[in-house]
């Protein structure tokens, strides 16, 4: 009989409506009374009794809670993490960037360190207005000095503000993504926890303070 397919369609949409929405809200989440109670970690009645003001707010639909966005640890965010201590200024990242958006200027520092001469890095600009977050700069970095970031909120009104400068990179709290850094992943590091990762724990190379390294680079010479 004609019309049965139409009725089945109605049943599917009704089923979905009862199942409830799957939307992830951002930047904050509107919750109803039940959601607010769950968020406050109280049972429904306790919430009503203990925090009547919040309950009224929730009933009126004005209660908001912080949004939780679950992201993979490999998330390629746009705030690059750069470890000054690890960088030798070899400019591999700049060379291999498919778009050529990394600008590096170095000058000899005059001091010799363990793995050869270290350069002062005067300019390290990443124009993320043109970046496509492919992560190849991170992949080719031989010293694990450059990491993808984990953030994604960098809206700006002007394109020129989208350039990440060396000062910003130096000052930034380091929450490197585990993209192409399997050692980070093996250590169980989650960049979204907000934990600051010191440079000694970020790379796959030995720490220069290591005894072995001293033997290899200083004592042998």
């Amino acid at each position: 009989m004609i019309g049965m397919g139409l009725m089945r369609g109605l049943a599917v949409t009704m089923k979905t409506a009862i199942r409830g929405p799957v939307t992830v809200q951002y930047p904050d989440r509107r919750v109803g009374l039940l959601g607010a109670a769950r968020e406050a970690d109280l049972s429904f009645f306790r919430f009503l009794v203990r925090r009547p003001k919040d309950a009224v707010k929730a009933v009126a639909g004005f209660a908001t809670v912080e949004a939780k966005i679950v992201q993979g640890t490999r998330f390629r965010g746009q705030d690059f993490n750069w470890y000054e201590e690890r960088c030798t200024g070899c400019a591999s990242c700049a060379k291999f960037c498919p778009l050529g958006i990394i600008k590096i200027e170095t000058s000899p520092s005059g001091k010799l360190q363990q793995e050869g001469e270290v350069f002062n890095i005067d300019v390290f600009d990443i124009d993320i207005g043109r970046c496509m977050f492919c992560g190849i700069c991170v992949e080719v970095c031989p010293y694990d000095a450059l990491h993808m970031g984990s953030g994604f909120e960098r809206g700006q009104y002007e394109r020129k503000n989208l350039v990440i400068t060396v000062e910003e990179l130096k000052a930034k709290k380091k929450t490197p993504s585990t993209w192409f850094r399997p050692q980070q992943e093996a250590a169980g590091y989650n960049p979204h926890s907000g934990e600051d990762r010191p440079w000694t724990e970020a790379g796959r190379h030995e720490q220069p303070g290591d005894k072995k390294l001293t033997e290899r680079w200083v004592d042998e010479r």
């Binding site: 019309g3 679950v70 993979g72 490999r74 992949e139 399997p182």
Partner: protein
């Protein structure tokens, strides 16, 4: 009775809800009926093939993401297979399995998008589209776990994938595999038996299979015309000879069969995924000896794969340097449009939009 009236020429696009991107169709209408159609493309032409000539082989992977941006993983796969054939690189088994898993997930995504937007073209208020997007989100979350990106993945590398899947990927994949069959059944309940859809899609946009073969049309469109031609089966690449799957074939070759073949292919993809998960073997996901900059010997290589939209291939020519001398994509979206004019002439406007939708094109790939 026919009226001899002047035909009206309408520009459908470049900005139009149903052209799936920036495409323009110059259509002559006699009343509601299409009397002539011409497509004008190139609004999204970015010169990817020229750009590829000045990038190293690995850097080009990022360009392939942006061709068919609904199915970046399969684009990566096709490109990497061509590079491996050109350079004679042997991929690691685990890398191959991971490539297959990601490619099949991507095929599901692409078919979900095709089905959802087809129903959007039919005027279903976006409800099926929202449902398919909901499932697409699950796959994109999986991709985010795999490679940190959702659309522009750049996951595949010569000799494997760039990094092994993280531990939390596998339970999430199992969860998705458990949910998905029920969701596909739900789409079928909502869509497949609906009388409005049946009356609008059956017997519309019919195109003969021998004509399709002659016009190089491939993919679900060809299989909906009764031709059993699936490169995963006919020219097994990667480990497709180690998995068992069926190919849904329909003989009607109309819009409805094209839609239904896609839905059934999603189920087959789930079957393949299950077998991949069962068969994947431990080991490195990538050969550490393959350098970032590879220099394939002089020569050319063409590897076609069964992309979600049809035969997707990369033809690479090397002159021994670090970047491809010539990189040519075989875009299924573009070539499947060859017979568009023949398909839509004589149809009413609404049927034209639907016929155009069942071809399932992606303008990023048409224009490159």
């Amino acid at each position: 009775m026919t009226l001899n009236s002047e035909s009206v020429i309408v520009n459908v696009g470049p900005q139009h809800p149903s052209t799936h991107g920036v495409m323009r169709l110059r259509v002559a209408f006699d009343g509601e009926l299409v009397t002539d159609a011409e497509m004008v493309i190139g609004y999204l032409h970015r010169g990817s093939e020229k750009l590829a000539e000045e990038r190293t082989f690995t850097q080009v992977v990022t360009l392939t993401d942006r061709m068919d941006y609904v199915a970046s993983m399969t684009n990566n796969q096709a490109y990497i297979l061509a590079v491996e054939k050109l350079a004679g690189i042997e991929p690691t088994p685990r890398g191959v399995w991971l490539r297959m898993i990601s490619a099949e997930l991507q095929r599901i995504v692409s078919h979900l998008v095709a089905v959802g937007f087809l129903l959007q073209d039919l005027g279903a208020m976006g409800t099926p589209l929202m449902y398919t997007m909901r499932e697409r989100e699950d796959v994109l979350d999986l991709f985010e776990l795999l490679c940190g990106a959702r659309i522009t993945n750049s996951y595949h590398r010569p000799s494997g994938v760039f990094q092994d899947a993280p531990d939390e990927f596998w339970p999430r994949l199992e969860l998705f595999m458990a949910n998905m069959p029920g969701r596909i059944d739900e789409y079928e309940q909502l869509i497949s038996g609906n009388e409005i859809i049946l009356s609008r899609m059956r017997g519309v946009g019919v195109i003969q299979p021998d004509m399709m073969i002659n016009a190089s049309i491939t993919g679900p469109m060809l299989r909906a015309g009764g031709v059993d031609w699936d490169l995963r089966h006919r020219q097994p690449y990667e480990y497709y000879d180690r998995v068992q799957f069926d190919r849904p074939i329909m003989d009607e070759s109309d819009n409805y069969s094209r839609y239904l073949v896609r839905v059934y292919e999603m189920r087959e993809s789930l079957k393949i995924l299950r077998q991949c998960i069962d068969q994947i073997e431990p080991g490195p996901a990538r050969d550490a000896d393959v350098p970032f900059v590879i220099r394939p010997p002089e020569g050319d290589a063409y590897v076609p794969i069964e992309g979600p939209k049809g035969e997707l291939g990369f033809y690479l020519v090397s002159d021994g340097g670090i970047s491809p001398y010539r990189c040519k994509v075989r875009p299924p979206s573009l070539i499947n449009l060859t017979l568009l004019r023949e398909m839509v002439i004589g149809l009413p406007m609404a049927a034209m939009i639907v016929t155009f939708g069942t071809v399932d094109i992606n303008m990023g790939e048409v224009d490159r």
